[in-house]
């Protein structure tokens, strides 16, 4: 497992095994979330292309 540190108040110490497991899970979850956001952005671009509209035109329609 990777080595991580945690700061609690002013104290910095190495993470416990349980904390490392959680940290690895956090990093994986963040990657998943970032991928989902990137996929959503791609879908948005693709949908705009299908419609033949610019982002400004869509924004004007929704305003």
């Amino acid at each position: 497992m990777a080595e991580y540190q945690i700061q609690i108040g002013n104290e910095v110490r190495d993470m416990t095994e349980e904390e490392i497991v959680q940290r690895d899970k956090d990093l994986a979850d963040s990657k998943k979330l970032a991928k989902a956001q990137a996929d959503r952005a791609k879908l948005k671009t693709a949908t705009l292309a299908k419609l033949g509209l610019t982002e400004d035109e869509v924004a004007a329609l929704l305003s």
Binding site: Q5, V12, E19, Q22, K25, S30
Partner: protein
Amino acid sequence: MGVNAQIEVPAFTAGQILTAAEMTQINTGIPVFATTVTRDAAFGGAGEKVLAEGQYAYIESTNQTLFYDGSSWLPVGTTPGMVYITGAPFTAQGTVSMAAGTFTTTYKNYQVELVVTSCSAQVQINVRVNAAGTPQTGASYFWGTGQFNTGGAFSGTGAGSSSTPQIMGTDGTRGTMGQINVFDPTNASSYTHVTAGSFGNISGGTGTIYGGYFYNATAAHDGLTFTTSSGTITGYYRVYGLSES
């Protein structure tokens, strides 16, 4: 009128013999006491002034100046509405936790300043609540953010039943700085709410970000933990309690 109330501010002449009453009248400086116990013992005895409205006292043990209003001793000056509790600097950390017991029942609501002066990369920051000093990592966060980029474009993100409440994020070079409000964290019967207003980057581009969540379980919380989505952050946090009077 209290027994110590003055009806004149006397001026004396050279060579004048002062009476005990006149000396008592001009004995108006703020007396200094070691503690409130020695203060209370210093009035009302034989040869001592009677404690009465308008009396001041300085207490060494608490470095406070107090005045007596006729029934109790009160601090001089205005009680601050926002009271500094604690803070800490952090350097190149991926996880920064407040110590257990940072939020107490002394205040209902808290304000936290999170200042990230630099970071290893553009990162999102999970702002989790702690229970007994331990960050709550379950899928109980219902969070959402809106970001207005410098170009004016708006983007939003969020999730329900999530374990990653990413309500702040850093510009890759310049970090992020923001204010977090924590509502009713120590009430075990309510759902702790957290909101954050900041400037940074959560979802592409840099801009003004407003985010927040409720923790979807009734529980008491005593602090926050900041965890990056990757990499590390450097900066400091400050915690303030919001008083009710």
